[in-house]
Symmetry: D2
Subunit: 187 residues, 4 copies
Amino acid sequence: MKQIIILINIDGKSIKGNFMANILVLYDSNSGNTKKMAEYVFEGANSSGNNVVKLLCVDDATTEDINWCDGIAVGSPTNMGLLSWKMKKFWDECGNELWGKIDGKIGCAFSSEGGWGGGAEITCMSILTVLMNFGFLVFGATDYVADKFTLHYGATNPGSPDSKQAIDACKRIGQKLDHWANKYFNK
Amino acid sequence: MKQIIILINIDGKSIKGNFMANILVLYDSNSGNTKKMAEYVFEGANSSGNNVVKLLCVDDATTEDINWCDGIAVGSPTNMGLLSWKMKKFWDECGNELWGKIDGKIGCAFSSEGGWGGGAEITCMSILTVLMNFGFLVFGATDYVADKFTLHYGATNPGSPDSKQAIDACKRIGQKLDHWANKYFNK
Amino acid sequence: MKQIIILINIDGKSIKGNFMANILVLYDSNSGNTKKMAEYVFEGANSSGNNVVKLLCVDDATTEDINWCDGIAVGSPTNMGLLSWKMKKFWDECGNELWGKIDGKIGCAFSSEGGWGGGAEITCMSILTVLMNFGFLVFGATDYVADKFTLHYGATNPGSPDSKQAIDACKRIGQKLDHWANKYFNK
Amino acid sequence: MKQIIILINIDGKSIKGNFMANILVLYDSNSGNTKKMAEYVFEGANSSGNNVVKLLCVDDATTEDINWCDGIAVGSPTNMGLLSWKMKKFWDECGNELWGKIDGKIGCAFSSEGGWGGGAEITCMSILTVLMNFGFLVFGATDYVADKFTLHYGATNPGSPDSKQAIDACKRIGQKLDHWANKYFNK
């Protein structure tokens, strides 16, 4: 499908005739493992170079950051099978200001767990539940990053993300976010 | 943000200078209640008139219908807290042909349950889980359709969808699908 | 099945020759609605009079309360489709002391939401996810409390629980907890 | 806590003065991987030797088998993030005869997936959702079977369960079922 797009009002976002999408990688981390994952997700989210990508610990995030982004990857340690209370607190408190006003952004998830089978998939789903509640369109990835390693509901990994598969899974969910942001927001 | 869009190649989809997205409302129904919901979802999905909208019982659906659509609303009765086995069978069997090849579509859910608290929300989430597995970006709606009636994870209703709220919830999830299809696919 | 049970060591819990189970109704509440639900759950949990039942706001709860109970009902407002951050914080912080040491208790859930379809079922499932993580056996109820009102994954209600159905649903999940505590812990 | 239990009516189940619980390991399998998992779960469920344990493919199962069991482990391949349609069909069809009549049994889950992060945890949760709907009390396990391998929501494994960790996870969920059956049903 070919289009000629002539931008009239570019909202200060244009580079080389394209809009850039704003991408936020937001994480909480207890042990440092989810932080490491976040850094790889961030790397993946920079793949195309088309978008503005920001990496942020939840301790430093504000409603303005959520408002700003077109796409988000949210990462949390798997704590009792769900996102951490700190990440939950952030979104609960965002509600007053943002809820119902930011529909139509896109989002995905990642989580570090204690062991395979430890709840990281369910934690990713809990993150996506929160994002859906705020009106995000959420996604995982059909991709396999290696034999027997995938990220259908977000990138998951037990312990420190040091294996090639763990690193690739994190990068891949970031790439997906970059990819869909390019497809849906860069017009 | 203003754009002037001049369509060069319209892939046979243009009407009045716009691309049309293809929207599928796919349902299974035991008692007829989910079918009724599907008809209201279908009505909502036709709101803008910009898109081609098709209503289909899962008994009559093929992989080609899934391939065809850009956006989908999938409805199922709440059977034991999840989508019906027939709807599941359809998607399981779609897998061989479609899985990994149709990423980037958008989707939402609706479900008829026996009673409030009967699992329709969880059923919607099970539908969205399947859609995410196929690479869909999935969504609910922040909207309230009446005091104490919403559809955050898809439209849900106990029994026959005859109340104004039930009808509006079904229409609303259809409208959302139409809305996001317009935003993301009609360029 | 008939048994004659002669209690030799009653751990200080016996009344009229029976062991009493310890039941905790633990809640968080923003608006007061979940608190009201908790009071009805508490009432239901006292149905048989066989057990010691305690009602507690999460602000006042400690790990000792969790340790103490044989069965628990956990209630939270539906905040973004999941339990509240305060309830999550409580359980996250319980982890260090209790996790892996209290397996085999039983538990159920209840939640107040803004509107039907607003995520209370999913919130109940998030509560049950946390409880499962701590080794609880968790349950809902097959019961209908009225035409089109049930509590398959816990008691749910939009707004203030003032209707007969809402009150009965809360009482019923409490009764179930009492019932299974009698069956499994009072020997 | 010491008890002297004198059995008066043993319902034909007594061996050495104990009641035996009936345990069912029920599975569906596409590739054979979930079947292998089921065999290890079965082995684990025989740990104490106190109970009658039956291993059954869903193709051969009837409502009578569900009625018979006190405890169940249900295994399914991870198909699109949920239990297989065949396993779902079985339970949907059990509904007419059994639903609302078998409350108070206990249950757990296991699932074989294509890759880590592929949805086996969510599939286990979908199985547990079905079981809860039928009034089961459901559980996972806090146990780690090796460094970075656990089964908090049921035993999960990508591909064939040949590693020591995979085998141990399957056995462990079976042992847990045996353990809780002993605790709750063998009086």
